[in-house]
């Protein structure tokens, strides 16, 4: 009896130890960026690493605005950061709004109606979820060169809208299916038009799902790299691409880079915590529900 209790307690302790290790390994990189962004340059490169005790400076965040880095690196070492952050915000919000506006009606059709070509359409949408950006970057590059869309926000917005559709359509289809169709039928019997029933009954009921879908879309769009790297330069460059440029200069300014990284990552983390229940559903285009 006693040995069993001892064994169980030991097992629990082991479990907690593993959980602790997982937590530290998971959180360490984000902790490291946050602290590096407020450390003095010589503390950043100190060995042994300064984990908890160091003098705090906000100079790296200022350097993102002024271009003057702490520790005397040349002004050139820090690329223009805030304009690209603005680009990221505009491109992200616009493409998410568009893909939700375009994808939601399609999702409703998949959830509510039987019609020819339905399976084909749904399958094709799922295939676009699997489509690697590199598979189509050359045609897009050629098309965009011909239409004058290279280095424009419009160009990226259009592309992200298309690539976000799979997420919107598959997720919203699931959310609509969870709403009983009888509610809309009742509204139609009461004299509502078909659009009226969707607008006043189905859409408000699916609103929480709609918000989750939009936020997930925003996260994925915000993080996208390849299209932004190849299709933009000085005018429409997004924040992750600018961050990657910190490295291609001769000296890597870790402090400024970490400040930029923090500014890019923090809003995403806040949003992610809001929609954590739906994250798996989003990543698998609605195939797995939590």
């Amino acid at each position: 009896m006693v040995t069993m209790r001892v064994r169980r307690t030991a097992g629990m302790a082991g479990s907690y130890l593993i959980i602790l290790i997982v937590a530290v390994v998971t959180l360490f990189p984000i902790y490291w960026i946050l602290t590096t962004s407020i450390k003095q340059p010589n503390d950043i490169l100190a060995i042994p690493p300064k984990l908890f005790v160091f003098a705090v400076t906000w100079g790296h965040y200022n350097s993102l605005v002024t271009g003057n880095t702490l520790g005397g690196a040349s002004a050139l070492a820090v690329p223009d950061f805030y304009p690209s952050l603005l680009n990221s915000a505009i491109i992200g919000l616009s493409s998410v709004a568009l893909s939700v506006a375009i994808g939601t009606p399609a999702a409703y059709a998949l959830a509510r109606f039987r019609f020819r070509g339905k399976g084909l359409f749904a399958t094709y949408v799922l295939i676009t979820r699997m489509l690697p950006p590199l598979g189509i970057i050359i045609p897009v590059f050629v098309m965009y060169t011909n239409f004058g869309l290279i280095d424009t926000r419009r160009g990226l917005i259009a592309l992200y809208t298309a690539f976000n559709l799979s997420l919107v359509i598959w997720m919203m289809r699931g959310f609509f299916q969870e709403i009983p169709a009888s509610l809309e039928e009742a509204a139609q019997v009461d004299g509502s038009s078909r659009f009226g029933a969707i607008w006043r009954i189905a859409l408000p009921l699916a609103a929480p799902g709609l918000v989750a879908t939009a936020i997930l879309n925003l996260i994925f769009t915000w993080n996208e790299f390849l299209f932004a790297l190849m299709l933009t330069s000085d005018n429409a460059r997004t924040a992750p691409v600018t961050a990657s440029l910190f490295v291609s200069y001769k000296e890597i300014v870790w402090g400024s880079l970490s400040a930029a990284g923090t500014v890019i990552v923090l809003p995403i983390l806040v949003f992610a915590l809001l929609v954590q229940r739906h994250l798996v559903r989003g990543l698998t285009a609605g195939a797995v529900k939590e």
Binding site: S15, P29, P132, L134, P139, G261, Q276, V280
Partner: protein
Amino acid sequence: MALAMPRARSGARWRARAFPYLLLLPACVVLAALTLYPTLYAIYLSFFRLGVGSPDPTFIGLSNYKNISIDPQFWSSLQISGIFTGSAVIVEFVFGFALALLLSQRLYGIRLIRTFLIIPMVMTPVIVGLTWRMFYNPTYGVIDYLLNSVGIPGPDWLADERTALLSVIIVDIWQWTPFMFLILTAGLHSLPSELYEAARVDGGRGWQVFRYITVPLLRQVIITALVFRMIDCFSTFDIIYVLTSGGPGIATQTLVIYSFFQSFRWFHFGYASALAVIILLVLGIASFLLVRLGRLTLLEVE
């Protein structure tokens, strides 16, 4: 009036039949213009010579594919993609499953851990890559500091051909193990608890219950997780680009990175298009096989 009625009714019926298509129309237009057309265009371009030295496309039939078949860089990059995807996905699956089983016990702080595990997945990959570059640095990186302090000489992780690929795989494992964990946790939650009790009453031991009850019941979920992770892993670009850019030499040059260099470093658009078509084929065939293997109902609509 009597004549007008049927026409009105058939008009209404026509409208009812057209309604779903009307709802799909905008999505169809956008998807056709920005996914279907580029895909077909990539296939078309793969039969042409286009790029540096040949600004106008010249039809060369299957020459690009013939050249690819005898291109040693193609074969090595395909192999590296295979190693990268295979090992990363397997380790993520094993770790994720183990963690999901561990956390299916009643322990304190589980919700907090689940929240923590969201963070790697949503962190901007470029920033993830840059942060790990600091960790891997041989002079001031924390990893080599830890190794050195226990007496192991730390390697120059990203610059050494023997460790570069491993370094990139480790970052992918760090970022995506939580994905496996979350999916499998969702799967475990959906299992009926009565089955477990019945198995225990019948004297089933931990491993037997896992092998003969948990795994078969989770088959769908497992296949789904593997398909999605495999496809995304094979298509990885940003992390590798930021960490090693395919180097040193071609040690971490996956098929996707190689195709990127053919496109935008050497501007061989035709050749790179053929590589892109091969990437699409590999992904298509692999996911089709996995889906068939798991008798997955993912693609079924109703």
